[in-house]
Point group: C2
Chain length 388, copies 2
């Protein structure tokens, strides 16, 4: 396999070619900014979206991996129209359409499957025998499943906060689960040693400030944009709301929409909105600064939240870039509002993870305004946590 | 809404028109045979399968419901090719392709969503305000979700064997869960009273011998056949293996393939195989009788099994009919083999309910023989049970 050269999205420096260390741009990290090194955008010219079957492997030419696919049937998740907000309707205000893209329909129950499918194909192509992920839950489960599928050994570093169902899922899939009781920095250091000394292939971030996840894996998220463009064919999506932590999903969706626009497959990119729990909201804090130099260097306290999948002290640069490019914004939601939205979605028949409710809560605000069509990404099923 | 007249599949007698009691053919029941009354098959002439978007509502004209859809994005589940059996390969025997259609990707995590989507649309069209289901798990969760989606009240009769995760799911979706401690006959009688006296709309069977589930709802299962025909376009599927209890899914898939064949959309119907846990295997027992009259009247002990979603004393007639029409068969799997297959699927990255492993275990036997392409239906995710 010939890997494309990775370049820093911010400063343009090339990463070491052909390596399997993915710790982002070290030059920008020295400035206190976490940013990923990525392959070039794909050229979607000539693609027929109506014939696109969904998922990362529905458009393999858009992926930076030339080896055989690793797949469990990820992607092609449903978009469900949510009920309109009766309060807004009563007030006679214009009310747009609110849709949920339900990523809980993926094989292991979260959007992470899109990334891990591609990440494991990249690991196989790189000749890895062991993959490693640091995760509080869904990414670990997805890494475990796709490693099993690919026949590779998988080690997952978790902490003690992982919900029972997720822990059991990782174990059932045969991954080695290491419960790390130290700080994030200590966990990162241990993972870095495993990558450096043992040659384990990293599927998630392990440096600080975090540059975001494995660049190859992250390209799997572009398929969310492709599917939305296909499913809303001919209609303009005003806004896509993405629950955001390290912005792997947000940045991936942004890249997908840029590829679609460049190829003329959609007229213009939707506005992207990062949705965060108020307890841990670096993007919301960053965008309060007028100056981008300050935005890039924002640091907040990362407090506990019911949206346990989310939480980060600093914005990953490519997340900010996705918001800047699309004239987007970031909005934070308090824990009580997150749980109110969780319960409200249950009254519509949907059990999502609280992190998904963060996105819907933000999206509900937006459809009360001028936005005619808003899609919230529901990142994960809530079924895993129900036994707790 | 004009409901189509329902006819007994076995004797052809018409059911009472326009009613909302669905207790099968009473004349056949008097002979000791449980059989459903169903609408006519749909005419799929002129359908372009390549453009079919999946799920029951992807072909609304094939459904006996003319009201607005009730949907959470059900259907369009992935088909995943499983690894070939190394033992068979080593022996130099021909080894076919084994695929899993993973119904755990549905919104509530099981194939039941296909039925409940249509069943709730039928309930709304019938003017119901309350729906009722008797279920040990997945059907109850699906009924609860789609009732919530439709804005109808939902009552679920369960027993004490329901796993924690499923129980929590039903509760979180706002259904009223009634834990019934009596016999199945007593539970049926209570549900029949609710249907008769309170006008609750029944989504599952409540008479004995069981005729199978709500006829309108069951038509949702035809979409499994449509999706398989689309996804294996141009290739012949030799056999479809279906985990079977009351045969709602088996019979629905059979009806779908018959419609496809009649419209010339596939060359011939695949052979259907009912997969059962050995502890509760009425179809396997029935097909040991040479005479169909004896097959119809088979009764077996319904013992406990790890495949908790399965289990029935008697075959529902339409299940036998599906096997007869497709020159199919039934095969039983012991609990230790079910759990071995469950673990084996986990090593491929898939966590399914033990009931789904029943189908795959049977399918593995078949791909060692002359069958070139076998699809096993994986009926439900195993994620719900992991917290137990």
């Amino acid at each position: 396999m010939t890997s494309p050269v990775l370049h820093c999205l911010r400063c343009g420096r090339a990463a070491a070619a052909g390596g399997t260390r993915f710790d982002g741009c070290r030059a920008c990290a020295a400035e206190g900014i976490g940013v990923n090194t990525m392959p070039p955008l794909a050229d979607l010219g000539g693609v027929d979206l109506a014939a696109y079957r969904g998922g990362p492997w529905g458009l393999p030419a858009a992926l930076p991996v030339s080896g055989p696919p690793v797949t469990l049937g990820e992607g092609n998740t449903p978009v469900v129209r949510l009920r309109r907000d009766p309060e807004h309707a009563q007030e006679g205000r214009p009310v747009g359409e609110l849709w949920l893209k339900y990523e809980g329909g993926n094989p292991t129950g979260s959007h992470k499957d899109r990334a891990m499918a591609v990440g494991l194909a990249a690991a196989v192509a790189a000749g890895a025998d062991t993959v490693v992920a640091a995760s509080s839950g869904n990414a670990g489960a997805a890494a475990a499943a796709y490693a099993a599928r690919a026949g590779l050994r998988c080690v997952v570093f978790t902490n003690e906060a992982v919900p029972t169902g997720l822990r059991a899922q990782i174990d059932a899939l045969g991954a080695e689960r290491v419960v790390h009781r130290g700080t994030t920095a200590e966990r990162n250091a241990e993972m870095a040693r495993a990558v450096e000394e043992r040659g384990w292939y990293p599927l998630t971030s392990y440096s600080s400030p975090s540059p975001g996840g494995n660049p190859y894996a992250n390209e799997g998220y572009k398929s969310v944009a492709y599917e939305l463009a296909r499913d809303f064919s001919g209609r303009r999506i005003d806004t896509v709301v993405v629950p955001t932590s390290r912005a792997d999903l947000l940045a991936g969706i942004g890249r997908g929409f840029r590829e679609l626009t460049a190829a003329g497959l959609i007229a213009r990119e939707p506005r992207l909105v990062a949705a965060e729990p108020a307890a841990s909201a670096p993007y919301t804090a960053a965008l309060r600064h007028p100056d981008r130099a300050d935005q890039e260097r924002t640091r907040v306290a990362d407090g506990p939240t019911v949206a346990f999948s989310l939480g980060e002290e600093r914005p990953c640069w490519q997340g900010l870039d996705a918001l800047w490019r699309s004239s987007g914004t970031a909005m934070a939601v308090a824990d009580d509002a997150i749980m109110a939205e969780y319960r409200r979605l249950a009254t519509e028949g949907l059990i999502v993870e609280p992190s998904s409710a963060v996105g819907v809560a933000v999206a509900r605000e937006l459809v009360g305004g001028p936005d005619a069509l808003v899609v919230a990404i529901g990142t994960a099923t809530g079924m895993k946590g129900l036994g707790d």
